[in-house]
Symmetry: C2
Subunit: 206 residues, 2 copies
DNA sequence: GTATCCTTCAAACAGTCGTTTGACAGAGTG
DNA sequence: CACTCTGTCAAACGACTGTTTGAAGGATAC
């Protein structure tokens, strides 16, 4: 008899996502995770093999979707002859925003993703590069067409800055304190708007 | 008999900085820290009281200096009538860059700082706000003079993006892989140059 | 000289960690 | 019916966690 409509695996992934976001990968214990998921401690090692594998699965579940959404949005941009730089940026940023607004823990996941950057862990970086890399390269091609005055290296630098600012904004790291009436969701929406405008100008800089 | 010319306290702080950067606050244990510092385990609680206090001291040691350098640089900018937006940005970014280039672990500290953002820990955030806040507000005043077309809230958003991109860049999070011959230092210098140009254009955007 | 302080040390404290085990229940198959 | 496979469970494994203790050393003060 389960306490939820979701499977043990899904409940573990959901609880792990929230707790990794809050306390970090080392800071959140499997006992915390399994307690929050209403699941026996041994279930993690039964279903995932190890804590490290659980961490990777937390990423995989969301990144597959994020990648696909970005890919789709980019393809649409590529097909339009009159697409602007803002459109391409939107194809990159909006899927991340939508994921972060997802009811079921997407906001937590963006913080987990930001933690992954901070971890600087080789295994995690390779994993993310394998899952992120090819989509990012496609974006570079499109941006390269739209910004012919930038050589490839310069473009890489600027996109790296955009990625950093995006990660930072979506993870809600900023010093900007949300005003009383503002929800976390509309806060992120505002952040995305500002980010697109800022990034477009930054990319267009000579 | 000490294994180093530095005091026990200084050696603990140095080792803690490096290990917190690499493994995180929860991930690095006091036994790792004291072993790396060639110091007895009990020395941490003797000199700092607790692990949490040690973490704060790691920040204080560097932030006092960083704040002072930014303050000084900003004052110089304020005194010049012909100062540009790039000058003000430089006053903000260059001290962080110089700290990150510091021989004795400054680079590690920038990663620790980035981790602090990722931690989202209330105590740590309050601590940073107390030590960072007033300098940041002074920068806002100067930027506000230079960018009269932006209202205060818009300006806050954009500076928040700049801060995010800076943190990200100085912590060397990016996907840009350093080429073989490039040192970590010159990599950071390049990053700072690109960042100033990008941020200036982004801030000037209508 | 004795007394006082600061610092270091090995050892132990009570918990928590990730992981493993073996028993047990239920479903599916023959 | 017996057999196997899958999932869950409490309990235990050894290793590691931050912190505390009391003894010991060395310097300084009187």
């Amino acid at each position: 008899m389960n306490a939820s409509q979701f499977s043990t695996k899904q409940r573990i992934l959901g609880a792990a996502e929230v707790l990794f976001a809050r306390y970090g990968f080392a800071g959140a214990s499997l006992r915390q995770v399994t307690a929050a998921a209403n699941v026996n401690l041994a279930a993690v090692n039964y279903h995932f093999g190890s804590k490290e594998n659980l961490i990777e699965e937390v990423f995989r579940r969301r990144l597959d979707d994020l990648n696909a959404r970005r890919q789709t949005a980019l393809t649409k941009v590529e097909k339009r002859a009159d697409a602007t730089l803002e459109d391409a940026l939107d194809a990159f940023i909006r899927p991340a925003l939508q994921l972060s607004l997802d009811r079921s823990g997407g906001g937590a996941f963006m913080r987990v993703l930001a933690r992954a950057y901070a971890e600087h862990d080789d295994r995690l970086r390779r994993f993310l590069s394998d899952n992120y890399g090819h989509v990012l390269r496609e974006f570079v091609v499109v941006f390269h067409h739209m910004l012919p005055h930038l050589d490839k290296e310069e473009l890489y630098w600027r996109l790296d800055i955009v990625a950093g600012a995006l990660t930072y904004a979506m993870a809600d790291f900023g010093v900007i304190k949300r005003k009383g009436g503002t929800s976390e969701q509309s806060h992120r929406e505002r952040a995305a708007e500002h980010l697109v405008r800022f990034a477009a100008a930054g990319l267009r800089a000579p």
